[in-house]
C-alpha cells in the first residue's frame, strides 16, 4: 500500500520569503502525485498534479513542485509567499486497486505567513 509522509507539521515564514513544504511517498512502479490546499473551514482545492511528463509542475498562483523519483519526493515550493497563502497543505499519492482510484494523503503541513 502507498504511504505519504509530510515531514513538517507546521511551517512559519515571513511574508515575501521563500518556502518549501516537504513530501515523500513510498515507491511504486508508476506514481501520480497531487498537492491540495485547504483554507480554514473549507474543502480541498487542487493546487497542482504530476501525472506524467515534465518532472517540474507549476500552479497558477506561483507554487511549483518537482517530482524526484530517485528520492521518492514531491516537494512544494514558492519563491515568495503572501499572507493569503496561509492554509493547510496536503500531499497525496494516487493508488489504483482493481481499477478504482483512492488518494492516500499525508498528515498535512500548516503554513503560517507572518507579516
Amino acid at each position: 500500500a502507498q504511504s505519504v509522509t509530510q515531514l513538517d507539521s507546521q511551517v512559519p515564514v515571513f511574508e515575501e520569503a521563500p518556502v518549501e513544504l516537504r513530501c515523500n511517498y513510498s515507491s511504486s512502479v508508476s506514481v501520480y502525485l497531487f498537492w491540495y490546499v485547504q483554507y480554514p473551514n473549507q474543502g480541498l482545492q487542487l493546487l497542482l498534479k504530476y501525472l506524467s511528463g515534465s518532472t517540474l509542475v507549476e500552479s497558477i498562483n506561483g507554487f511549483e513542485a518537482e517530482f524526484n523519483k530517485s528520492q521518492t519526493s514531491f516537494h512544494l515550493r514558492k519563491p515568495s509567499v503572501h499572507i493569503s497563502d496561509t492554509a493547510e497543505y496536503f500531499c497525496a499519492v494516487s493508488e489504483v486497486i482493481q481499477g478504482a482510484q483512492k488518494l492516500v494523503f499525508g498528515q498535512g503541513t500548516r503554513l503560517t505567513i507572518n507579516p
Binding site: G43, A92, S94, Q98, G99, A100, F105
Partner: protein, 113 residues
C-alpha cells in the same frame, strides 16, 4: 459549473443515531469518493462509487455504507454513531475510476455528542 456540492454543511447527532450525508458531483463526472478527515489529520478514504456500485473500500467498518444514484449523486450513511465519528466528511468526484484528477466539495462537519 456548480462544482461538487455537499449537504448539509454542519450536523450534530447523538451517539447511537444514524446520519445521511449527500453529495452531487461536478458536471460531467460519474465517480464519487468519500473521505473522512478527523481534526488535525489528512483525509482518509472511505469508499468509491462508480456505476452505482461500491468499487473500492478503505479500512472502515460496515457501519459506513453508501449509495450512488443514476444521476451520479451519492449518499454516505453512518449507523450507530460513535463519538469518534466526529469529523469533516469530504466528497470527491472524478471522471472515470483510474488515475485522474479529483475535485472536492466543501465537506460536511459532523459532530457526535
Amino acid at each position: 459549473d456548480a462544482g461538487v456540492t455537499q449537504s448539509p454543511t454542519h450536523l450534530i447527532k447523538t451517539r447511537g443515531q444514524q446520519v445521511t450525508l449527500r453529495c452531487s458531483p461536478k458536471s460531467g463526472h460519474d465517480t464519487v469518493s468519500w473521505y473522512q478527515q478527523a481534526l488535525g489529520q489528512g483525509p482518509q478514504f472511505i469508499f468509491q462509487y462508480y456505476e452505482e456500485e461500491e468499487r473500492q473500500r478503505g479500512n472502515f467498518p460496515d457501519r459506513f455504507s453508501g449509495h450512488q444514484f443514476p444521476n451520479y449523486s451519492s449518499e454516505l450513511n453512518v449507523n450507530a454513531l460513535l463519538l469518534g465519528d466526529s469529523a469533516l466528511y469530504l466528497c470527491a468526484s472524478s471522471r472515470g475510476t483510474g488515475n485522474t484528477e479529483a475535485f472536492f466539495g466543501q465537506g460536511t462537519r459532523l459532530t457526535v455528542v
